[in-house]
Amino acid sequence: MNQTILEVTNLNKHFGGIHVTRDVNFRMAEGEQSAIIGPNGAGKSTFFNLLTGYHKPNSGRVVFDGQDITGKAPHIVARMGISRAFQVSNIFPRLTVLENVRSAVHSHTGATMNMFARADRIDVKETRECLLLCGLGGKPDEIAGHLSQGDKKKLELAIALASQPKLLFLDEPTAGMSLEETEETMNLVDRLNRELRLTVLFTEHDMSVVFNHANRVVLLHRGEIIIEGSPEQVRDDETVQKIYLGEQQI
């Protein structure tokens, strides 16, 4: 069995009276690629927010790579090697594609306090590689805000990858993409997972993407993990089908 990279114990989060994350226990091994599924409002994004420091949990513990990161600020969590791509593309709209990615690379290499050197001459190679990897090699000088929805999501992924994370969270990475782009993007994620042993956790509504690209599937419903297992196990489970058809109260 691989080494544990992420361990979540009894995680709880309330927003007012609403209990959005209930006693979640969750473990990820290094190098695995898993998906979280669940209907809208199941608490998937909140779960990511809790793991990356955007929300502080009410109780529970998050341990990443042997270190307790519960309630740590996002920039500290990011520095430790957790990167995330957002559901709604979260880019720097008035900067160029290249500037977007380069800023992320600089933040990773620690160049950002440098006030005298020219930014366009630092980490040129890394930036270029990251753009090529994500299929943006042809449009470095386009204004990010003017990109198509699909390209914005690619850029979103490029920014997340620029910091060479150990653990990557992807919140609906293919939303707004065409079929070809979806295939391209998920193949890239597979490749990173396989070749660089990048640990990936993604949410997705498109079940074919989930079942083709995840080793393990976790179903979240009303803030609770209902079932986790191989894609086949989850697909064939009765409760899963009922939750997705919306018939049963659990």
Binding site: T52, Y54, A73, P74, H75, A78, R79, S83, R84, F86, N90, I91, F92, P93, R94, L95, T96, E99, R102, S103, A104, H106, S107, H108, A111, T112, M113, N114, M115, F116, A117, R118, A119, D120, I122, D141, E142, I143, G145, I159, S163
Partner: protein
């Protein structure tokens, strides 16, 4: 901005080449700098003094734009650091001045050097609180601290001279000549502008832009947003302090109004006139503002009315400032690409510094 040098329309060779460059501030600054060398050749001391004022206030406005155009936060209290710099220099100046009102060369330079650190420390302390907030709350807090500092200086008769300010700041004989002081100011302001120019194209400068564009995303890159905001606030305060330090020996006096909100407003006006999206914007704004101020007050007392109308015209007909209009309407045509340059070089095309 996505200019790839494809020129499909007219313009002669060199003009097109300059136009094809992505950023217009470099050429603008070079042209202005060369022009600045000849100002003292104009007849009469008056225009040389106006030139000094343009330089000092231009530096002040450019330091303000590090916070506004580049970091996307608006400070309504930036004059506090201009004033602190001025007082830092003036107080030491006063202590150095002997009974006959003379000061040695060394003392003069030591006094000048005291201004920027005083301003930087003030900005560091105030910034510590201000960077916790953004948008209108940031603006109000900078205003509140600015007025607070104004009031301290205004009331502390024993130390700052209160509402009398500090008078008789007579520089050493060599620097009393307007032309000499002009070239001295030009040197200092050029050096400061060069440092700021390096800064805005550095990785740090890009962090300022990403914080303006998307604070949350910047944080998820691993950037401690508050710390970077504080560093920039302090640096901007220090440059305002350089401008302030030059001011006292120029006007031979300092007063508490240098820290007031109206003085802060001057930086805002200059930046809006010239263009917040451009490094050179506030400098162009300073030329327009200061020149008009000197000219208009020569025959009418209705300066506030005049500047009000000018700001109105700019906001309506040239939102984004003069450089933005030049960049998008004139130079973009030379580039043969109607959209290029549309984001300025800070990437901040809007006249406002808000998040998009």
């Amino acid at each position: 901005m996505a200019s790839d040098g494809q020129d499909s329309s007219g313009g002669s060779g060199w003009l097109r080449r300059v136009a094809a460059r992505r950023h217009i501030s470099g050429p603008v600054i070079v042209v202005l700098g060369i022009g600045a060398l000849f100002i003292p050749l104009l007849p009469g001391e008056f225009w040389t003094d106006v030139g000094i004022e343009i330089l000092i206030l231009g530096l002040f406005a450019m330091s303000f734009n590090l916070i506004y155009g580049f970091m996307g936060q608006i400070s309504f209290g930036h004059a506090a650091y201009f004033g602190l710099g001025a007082y830092g220099t003036a107080i030491l100046f006063r202590e150095f001045t002997d009974g006959t009102g003379e000061i040695t060369m060394t003392q003069f330079f030591v006094a000048l050097l005291a201004g920027p650190p005083v301003a930087a420390i003030g900005a560091l302390v105030v910034g510590y609180f201000c960077v916790r907030l953004t948008g209108i709350y940031f603006a109000i807090l900078t205003l509140a601290f600015g007025e607070l500092l104004f009031y301290v200086v205004f009331s502390w008769y024993g130390f700052t001279g209160g509402d009398n300010g500090i008078q008789r700041l007579l520089p050493p004989p060599f620097f009393r000549d307007s032309t000499v002081y002009y070239y001295f100011t030009l040197t200092v302001v050029s050096a400061a502008a060069y440092l700021m120019w390096r800064m805005i194209w550095s990785p740090f400068g890009y962090v300022l832009r990403t914080m303006r564009e998307n604070k949350l995303r910047t944080e998820f890159l691993g950037i401690n947003v508050r710390r970077y905001m504080l560093v920039n606030f302090t640096v901007a305060g220090a440059f305002a302090g350089v401008a302030g330090a030059l001011w006292g020996p120029f006007t031979r006096s300092v007063g508490p109004l240098l820290l007031g909100w109206q003085e802060s407003g001057i930086a805002v006006f200059m930046t809006l006139i010239g263009g917040a999206g451009y490094f050179a914007g506030p400098a162009v704004g300073s030329i327009v503002y200061t020149f008009l101020h000197a000219y208009v007050t020569g025959f009418t007392v209705y300066w506030p009315l005049t500047i009000g109308v000018i700001i109105l015209l700019i906001v309506i007909f040239a939102p984004g400032g003069l450089l933005y209009s030049i960049d998008t309407k004139l130079i973009a045509r030379l580039r043969g690409n109607g959209n290029s340059g549309a984001n300025g070089e800070s990437g901040n095309s809007s006249s406002g510094g808000e998040e998009p």
